[in-house]
């Protein structure tokens, strides 16, 4: 796998730093359970230690105390804590704005407001801060799993099924998510980023998704657009206003604005874009897209610049 130019600063992917109501509630539960588990472990090991030093039979009620009463008390506390946490997360049953995410080998198709304006993006999920959003998860091929540890726990994307979860992102910023269900050869390269924006900026973002893609305004960019059209890219990719037929690959209308390339794997810049186009099969083996390694140097530069300009 390509060893160069990864993102310098990924968004946070740890469940220890929460930026969503679900992750925050779960982090509290994790902490409580870890402490309680540690105490129980010390109690049992203490019993082992005492037993090693003792030299006469104990009472049978120790079996009841340690094997029945202690677990039942601990479990009752655990079930109660879990239930309260579940209620706090409120994963289902809300009528919130819907964002539909579909997992594909090995990228993510994103549609905001699927019943209405059906605004499409890919590999970067923009969420409004402090707003309930329902993520509607589907799969286009095998089972994937949607996981952004800093925002919420995971939920699988299963062919033939629709899974939904309601999340509230609480802190604007950039977070990283990753496919958590083994889905094939390039499973490790199937990540994405979540961009949490203040609600006003989110509205602007959505409005931007309705506009046609930015026009090519220099000679090089025009050449890049020509290469894009000539090489058959529109068979799979959409650039609004330029090519609207293909749905096989990610929507590229604002590809240059994304923080990362190749589904959350590399920093978005002209160099990585050119490398990606020329050698995608090396950077992400068995991706659907072929390597366009027959392009001339100027053509490759032009198309990379053109894509980078789409913001």
């Amino acid at each position: 796998m390509n060893n160069t130019s990864t993102l310098a600063d990924y968004g946070s992917q740890t469940s220890f730093s929460s930026a969503g109501s679900g992750a925050a509630a779960t982090l509290g539960l994790t902490t409580a359970m870890s402490v309680a588990g540690g105490v129980l472990f010390l109690l049992v090991m203490g019993a082992v230690w005492l037993a090693r030093r003792r030299n006469r039979p104990g009472h049978v009620w120790w079996i009841w105390a340690g094997g029945v009463v202690l677990p039942v008390l601990a479990l009752a506390a655990l079930v109660a804590a879990s239930t309260f946490t579940l209620a706090a997360i409120g994963r289902t049953g809300d009528t919130a704005p819907v964002i539909e995410v579909t997992g594909h080998h090995y990228w993510w198709d994103v549609v905001h407001d699927p019943q209405g304006r059906a605004l499409r993006d890919a590999n970067e999920i923009v969420l409004p801060a402090d707003t309930k959003v329902t993520l509607r998860l589907r799969s286009g091929d095998v089972i994937h799993s949607f996981w952004v540890p800093s925002i919420a726990g995971k939920l699988d994307m299963i062919p033939g099924r629709v899974n939904e979860m309601t999340v509230t992102a609480t802190r604007p910023g950039r977070y990283r998510g990753q496919c958590a269900e083994f889905c094939g050869l390039s499973h490790p390269l199937m990540a994405f980023e979540v961009l949490v924006l203040p609600p006003a900026e989110y509205a602007a973002y959505l409005a931007g998704l309705q506009d046609e893609a930015r026009d090519a305004d220099t000679a090089q960019l025009e050449q890049g657009r020509e290469v894009f059209l000539r090489e058959g890219c529109p068979a799979c990719h959409v650039i609004r206003g330029i090519a609207e037929g293909g749905r096989i690959g990610p929507d590229l209308s604002r590809v240059g604005a994304r923080g990362s390339l190749g589904a959350g794997m590399w920093r978005m810049n002209v160099g990585n874009l050119a490398g990606w186009i020329a050698d995608v099969q090396d950077m992400k083996p068995v991706a659907e897209m072929p390597s366009f390694n027959h392009l001339s140097g100027p053509d490759l530069r032009a198309v990379a610049h053109y894509l980078a300009s789409l913001k």
Binding site: N3, L7, A8, Y10, Q13, T14, S15, F16, G22, A25, T26, L29, M33, S34, G37, F41, V44, M45, V48, R52, R54, N55, R56, V60, W62, I63, G66, G67, V68, P71, A74, L75, L78, A81, T83, L86, I89, V142, I143, S145, P149, A152, G153, K154, L155, D156, I158, G160, R161, R176, Q178, C179, A180, E181, F182, C183, L185, H187, P188, M265
Partner: protein, 831 residues
């Protein structure tokens, strides 16, 4: 390693006059002929050594995984190789190491502990071993064909279906593992029958060594727990080969059906691995404390409870698949419940420890290590039962940490302790106390460095099964340390393996009962003779060697007991009443034979040919195997002979429902019912999940289904009549009824197109399964008729007829269930 020959007897006291006859009867064949041996001692050691081999291979694969992950974006392995390596690591560890090696210990130890001269179906044990070896070799051979499975040990559909995994890799997995599972289920039947039917006189179930209880529950769990996976594997293989769309949502299937079947097996599997190891701990610990197990009854009750509860937990592996919230809550609560029997067992051990000052031997180190590690694994398991936490931790490195705490702590540590404990029994020499301590501390420290950190790695967001990870996500240092820990752990295992090999010439000779244990297997000085017991003593206690001084006092050959002589020069042992342990019959045991090896080889050829798409060869292999089974069973019946023994006159192979073959048939039927239930569950699940496809599946022909039922009634009636008045004519009529029932069943499902919808496909599979059942009855009945017609059967030799009746009843019951399922949609239309 497998040399347990009875001639190796320099340290075994004086030889009695009648021994030569014994020696001839129980001698293990020499040289290459030893492959025909069926003795449990030989077969058990083969299981153990082969399992150890797979453990080392799988462990090596684990080191490759850790080496790949030692730094971010490593290029040591490419993604394809990495996926093969982690898939094979899990597959080998779970299917070809953990279960077989524990069954190997059970096969080796149980007759010795229970007071039997051999396991009750020695040829079945040998057959199971060869199936395991050949199945394992098929799985390993995939590396040679560059087709190693790469879909994970869990083989989730649709990733493992033909569309996303073309080529043979998934077929290698499905066929090889299914084949190896034959070994597990045959061993389960054998262990059930052996534990219930061949205990020493006086050994009631309440006086049985605790290991017997653990293995009995394990065997029942295998009998019920493996069938869902076998059914799932067959469905997936049929989908891949023939295109029946069980898991394709576009045709009425559902990928989650695979997950339900897989985890219906996969969760009990964890306890199937844990229980025997835990049973070893409960056997070894009292020895080192010098006092009996504390709370024997509590431990037994806890083990039985655990066996039941473990079947109600499977969905906690599926908390992130979008199951309804109420289902999640139920399974979450059920999952936490298993803590109670686990806690009871742990506290039985702790209280055993409290009774005396334990000797800190090497096995004792591993027992304490087991307690330390397993308790952590249990606690993280409870955390994972919490739904919201599970959503974060599932499929992250937290789960990797948890499962290794449970499996290495709960199984590998006790197992290595068991090796140190019982190896003197295998080889007559002690392993090294010094090297054993090195092995323990290296393993213990290496283990925690490797796996404790993974809890944190997982909560920091690292998913499992990723071949590389980018730099700078907070995982770099943790992974580096985990990899270093894994090398320390491997060094510990290497020290153990070296000791296991080198003790053969460096180890001191083992004295009689080297650990001052109380269980019967140590009655002889190592190595015990091939027949285990010159005479089988009457047992009055759970720790006979502690409470019955006559057993250890003098020459073991002079101990009084049943079957002191071998007047016929035949292999025989005492069959007991399943509950009281009082002698019931004499069980004649087979001598060395090539039939198990040849039959297993035929099955192996069949499976390998299936893999290579040579269907004619596959069919030929199957037919040859069927002939092999007939040869196997075509031996003169000895039912009715009597022997005078110290326990009175006993009959050989008593025709009774308490007899060992009838108990074994009941065990087999348990497996068959579990298989059938798994299929039926599949049918009903698909019907429920994709109801619109139920209409598309069409209706079966109810008239023919009625005819099949009528023929099924005929089968039961003739089987019942034949039990009362055995004769060849009734056997042939029964065969005819079975054939007719099969034909009618085929016509009943014919209107449904198995390729069009998953539901119709599942109905066909169910019908096909009943067809196989009916074929078995047909084959069996023709076989019995032939035996009667050729004069092989004397009056009163009715064991086969007694055994066939429940088989016929259960098969007819399956017909009824299938008919109800066929009729239900049409009845629904009426209402």
């Amino acid at each position: 390693m497998t040399d347990t020959s009875a001639d190796d007897r320099p340290r075994q006291g004086p030889i009695l006059d009648e021994l030569p006859l014994y020696e001839r009867a129980w001698a293990t064949p020499k040289g290459w002929r030893s492959l025909s041996s069926v003795s449990h001692r030989v077969v058990g050691q083969r299981f153990i050594v082969t399992g150890l081999g797979f453990f080392l291979i799988a462990g090596f694969l684990a080191l490759l995984v850790r080496t790949q992950l030692i730094v971010p974006q490593n290029t040591f392995l490419d993604a394809e190789t990495y996926n093969q390596v982690f898939t094979m690591h899990g597959t080998l560890m779970m299917f070809l190491f953990a279960i077989p090696i524990l069954e190997g210990f059970g096969v080796y130890l149980l007759p010795l502990m229970l007071g039997a001269r051999d396991l009750i179906f020695p040829r079945l044990g040998a057959f199971g071993y060869w199936c395991y070896l050949f199945g394992g070799l098929i799985v390993l051979a995939s590396f040679l064909f560059d087709a190693a499975p790469a879909g994970g040990w869990f083989m989730y559909t649709p990733l493992s279906s033909k569309e996303y995994t073309p080529g043979l890799s998934a077929d290698f997995w499905l066929i090889g593992i299914t084949f190896a599972e034959i070994a597990s289920v045959t061993a389960a039947v054998e262990l059930i029958a052996a534990i219930l039917c061949t205990r020493a006189p006086g050994m009631s179930l309440t006086k049985m060594p605790i290991f017997g209880w653990y293995m009995l529950v394990t065997a029942f769990m295998i009998a019920v727990g493996f069938p869902p996976l076998i059914v799932g594997s067959i469905l997936l293989e049929v989908e891949r080969l023939l295109g029946l769309p069980f898991f394709d949502p576009a045709m009425g299937g559902d990928p989650l059906l695979w997950q339900h079947l897989f985890w219906l097996f996969g969760h009990p599997e964890v306890y199937i691995i844990f229980l025997p190891a835990s049973g070893m701990v409960a056997t070894m610990l009292p020895t080192f404390v010098g006092k009996p197990l504390f709370g024997y009854g509590y431990a037994v009750a806890a083990v039985v409870a655990m066996g039941f509860i473990s079947f109600g937990l499977w969905a906690h592996h599926m908390f992130t698949t979008g199951l309804p919230m109420i289902t999640l809550s139920l399974f979450s609560a059920a999952s936490t419940m298993v803590t109670i029997p686990t806690g009871v067992q742990i506290f039985c051990l702790i209280l055993t420890l409290a009774q005396g000052r334990p000797r800190l031997t090497v096995p004792m180190h591993f027992i304490l290590g087991f307690l330390f590690i397993f308790v952590i694994g249990g606690l993280t398991g409870v955390m994972l039962a919490s739904v919201p936490f599970n959503w974060q931790a599932h499929d992250s490195y937290f789960v990797v940490a948890h499962l290794h705490y449970v499996l290495i702590g709960g199984m590998v540590f006790p197992l290595i302790g068991a090796f140190y404990y019982w190896t003197p029994h295998f080889t007559g020499r002690m392993m090294s106390e010094r090297l054993g301590r090195w092995a323990f501390w290296l393993m213990f420290i290496g283990f925690h460095v490797t796996f404790f950190l993974m809890h944190i790695t997982g909560l920091r967001g690292m998913p499992r099964r990723i071949a590389t990870y980018p730099e700078g996500l907070g995982w770099d240092r943790l992974n580096m340390l985990s990899s270093i820990g894994s090398y320390i752990l491997a060094a510990g295992v290497a020290v153990f393996v070296w000791d296991f090999i080198a003790h053969r010439w460096r180890g001191p000779l083992a004295p009689r009962d080297p650990w001052q244990a109380g269980t019967l297997e140590w009655m002889y000085p190592p190595i015990a003779p091939g027949h285990n017991f010159h005479a089988i003593p009457r047992v009055h206690s759970r720790e006979p060697l502690w409470d019955q001084p006559e057993l250890l006092g003098g020459d073991a050959h002079r101990v009084h007991g049943v079957l002191h002589d071998a007047p016929h020069g035949r292999r025989e042992t005492v069959g007991c009443h399943p509950l009281s342990g009082e002698p019931l019959q004499i069980v004649r045991l087979p001598h060395p034979t090539w039939v198990p090896l040849v039959t297993a080889a035929c099955v192996a050829v069949g499976f390998a040919a299936l893999l290579a798409n040579f269907y004619l060869v596959a069919a030929a292999g199957l037919v040859a195997a069927l002939v092999g089974f007939a040869v196997w069973a075509w031996e003169p019946s000895e039912t009715g002979e009597t022997l005078e023994t110290s326990e009175g006159t006993l009959t050989v192979n008593l025709p009774s429902r308490l007899g060992h073959t009838h108990i074994a048939i009941i065990g087999t039927l348990l497996i068959l019912v579990a298989l059938f239930a798994s299929l039926l569950l599949g049918v009903m699940y698909l019907w429920n999940v994709q109801p619109e496809f139920a209409r598309l599946a069409g209706d079966g022909d109810l008239d023919w289904a009625g005819a099949a039922l009528a023929c099924g009634a005929g089968v039961v009636l003739t089987a019942w009549l034949a039990r009362r008045w055995p004769n060849a004519l009734l056997d042939l009529i029964l065969a005819l009824f079975a054939a007719a029932a099969g034909g009618a069943l085929y016509l009943a499902v014919l209107p449904m197109d198995p390729l069009a919808t998953a539901l119709a496909g599942a109905v066909w599979m169910t019908a096909g399964f009943i067809g196989v059942q009916l074929f078995v009855l047909l084959y069996w009945s023709v076989f019995l008729a032939l035996r009667k017609l050729t004069g092989q059967v004397a009056p009163g030799q009715t064991v086969p007829e007694i055994n066939r009746l429940p088989y016929a009843v259960v098969t007819a019951g399956m017909l009824v269930a299938a008919a109800v399922v066929l009729a239900a949609p049409q009845l629904e239309a009426f209402t």
